[in-house]
């Protein structure tokens, strides 16, 4: 077990001396080897997804890991089988509405809990943290009955509403707000801004990284959401990409070439958002953990 642990903490002192030292060299080699293995395992399924989309289903079944010439056939099959523009529009619309509303409501609450403390509100906050541990499975049934009694089954509202006030995101914003400089707020007050103006014109621009990290988390959660939309979206024309592609895989003889082409399309938006916001994401996480 020391073989694995040693390379993790290769000393700076030792490395500064730059003298060749065999155990140290081996330790570093093992460290790079293990990291490369981890990177390979992490990336391989992405490679497989792209390769698979260019192969026939039969070849995927026998593990052919080289590029084939079936990309256009798979694409054509995919567009012929599913109403792609519609399902991706459904997914995008739900994810966008969900993200905007969640960020608005939850960041306001996180800011409010941190900036205006009172004994009573602290108690509410503690109660909320307790609720955080209630699993969704416990809420699923009553939520469904409630949504049906509101006659909302099959609407975007049904998908989005239960998630807007996210305790996790409220908690995240409260933690991040602790780093928001109080002098900025005081200065803004002296300049005559009211509390809402301070939030809009001072807090929002200052906390860009925090919002970026939250956008990544919330957008991904909404775009990838599966169980709840599966329950409340019952009309075919409202199904999201996630639901439709999942249904394709559970057919008796799934056409994996076509399905993998679909999963590329379904993964692209979250990949793009991640790479666009990556730097801010890391900063935002740092702000919240500090």
């Amino acid at each position: 077990m020391t073989d694995q642990a040693l390379p993790l903490a290769t000393s700076r002192v030792e490395r500064r001396t730059r003298s060749f030292n065999l155990p140290n060299f081996v330790a570093r080699a093992i460290k790079y080897l293990l990291l490369s293995l981890a990177a390979f395992v992490s990336i391989f399924p992405f490679f497989w997804m792209v390769v698979g989309a260019t192969n026939r289903s039969v070849d995927i079944g026998i593990g052919k890991a080289t590029f084939g010439d079936q990309l256009f056939v798979n694409a054509a099959n995919f567009f012929a089988t599913v109403d792609a523009p519609r399902i991706f529009w459904n997914s995008a619309f739900i994810a966008l509405v969900g993200t905007v509303l969640t960020l608005a409501i939850s960041s306001l609450a996180g800011y409010g809990f941190e900036m205006f403390r009172s004994k009573f509100r602290e108690r509410i906050f503690t109660l909320m943290l307790l609720l955080l541990s209630i699993p969704f499975a416990a809420l699923m049934v009553p939520l469904f009955v409630m949504i049906s009694s509101f006659k909302l089954v099959g609407t975007v509202a049904a998908v989005v509403l239960p998630g807007i006030a996210s305790i996790f995101i409220i908690f995240y914003f409260r933690q991040a707000t602790k780093a928001f400089p109080g002098e900025l707020r005081d200065a803004a007050r002296v300049d005559g801004l009211n509390e809402w103006q301070i939030f809009l014109y001072i807090y929002l621009p200052t906390m860009r990284s925090t919002y970026a990290a939250a956008i990544i988390i919330v957008f991904m959660a909404n775009w990838n959401n599966y169980l709840w939309p599966l329950i409340v979206l019952n009309k075919p024309e409202q199904k999201t990409a996630t639901l439709v592609i999942s249904a394709l895989t559970s057919s008796y003889t799934p056409d994996f070439g076509m399905i993998l082409f679909g999963t590329i399309l379904a993964t692209l938006p979250t990949l793009v958002i991640f790479f666009l916001l990556q730097r801010r994401f890391v900063e935002g996480m740092l702000g919240a953990v500090k």
Partner: protein
């Protein structure tokens, strides 16, 4: 106290900031929780139910499928969470070395899996782990196994497959929390330990782990909750099979409510088992974490 400085208008402003969230949480969280607690004492099919006392709890103890799902869920929890937390910690410590080459590449690569949608990765794993699939081919090529593993058909390997899948998806996510927390650990502590002759393993175990304890606790609890609620992966990779070997509590609740003739009361009772497990395990994790610090 901060609230001593709060004027009356500020006090009201404070409520306006949090009111929308509180109203929504009341409707979509607090009310369903109370409703489900009440439901768990009702028996009957569909929307016809009447008070059954502890009938549902008695039914739990006699329901082999429930016991199966409970054991499966706990197996996933006990095996998967420690592996994932350990891997994430090791990766974070390795990547925290400022002199490491290709740091950005390794970090992005290991984080990348959690960008994928659950459906995309379920599909990928299902096709990669087919009996004649690419994973078996690779393992056979490097002589780790002699003959193909029946990942999707064998009850034991199906569980292993689910564990591999979840670990692949979530290790990078946990790693980011540790990387962020490691930024706050003063490097000079490690220098001092090194001069005192502490080995790499000792530094990891006696400096890194205690320093990161709050974050480790947080991620362990989040992962515990996540694993106890496991649904998407098992529903899409194995559909709970073969012969219920990967059936989880969440999947069972879903089946009880939306696949069979709905029995809301009983499925509410099963869901309260999850709540209870989360509560007990979170509490235990807090206690263990506190004992360690003494």
């Amino acid at each position: 106290m901060a609230n001593a400085r709060l004027g009356r208008t500020e006090h009201i402003t404070g409520w306006t900031f949090i009111a929308p969230a509180l109203v929504l949480l009341g409707i979509f969280m607090l009310y369903p929780i109370l409703w489900s607690l009440w439901m768990s004492f009702q028996v009957g099919k569909g929307m016809n139910f009447n008070f059954g006392g502890f009938a549902n709890i008695v039914r739990l103890t006699k329901d082999p499928v429930f016991i199966r799902a409970l054991v499966n869920t706990l197996t996933f929890l006990v095996v998967q969470v420690p592996i994932m937390i350990g891997l994430a910690l090791l990766a974070a410590v390795a990547l925290n070395d400022p002199k490491l080459r290709f740091r950005g590449f390794f970090r992005t690569a290991i984080f990348l899996p959690c960008v994928t949608s659950l459906i995309a990765y379920s599909t990928l794993f299902k096709s990669m782990f087919a009996t004649d699939g690419v994973v078996n081919n690779m393992l056979m090529a490097v002589w780790i196994i002699q003959e193909p593993i029946h990942w999707l058909q064998d009850p034991f390997w199906a569980k292993v497959l689910i564990i591999i899948a979840i670990t692949w998806r979530w290790t990078g996510y946990n790693m980011v929390f540790y990387l962020a927390a490691l930024q706050n650990v003063d490097r000079s502590i490690y220098e001092a330990a090194r001069i005192d002759g502490a080995s790499g393993w000792h530094q990891f175990w006696y400096i890194t782990v205690p320093m990161l304890k709050p974050v480790i606790l947080f991620t362990t609890i989040i992962s515990t909750i996540g694993t106890l609620q496991l649904f998407d992966e098992v529903n899409n990779i194995t559909q709970g099979g073969p012969s219920d070997s990967t059936l989880t509590l969440s999947l069972y609740i879903y089946n009880l409510t939306f696949k069979f003739m709905p029995s809301f009361g009983y499925s509410a009772t099963v869901s309260w088992v999850i709540v209870l497990l989360v509560a007990v395990l979170s509490f235990a994790q807090f206690v263990i974490a506190r004992d360690r610090s003494k």
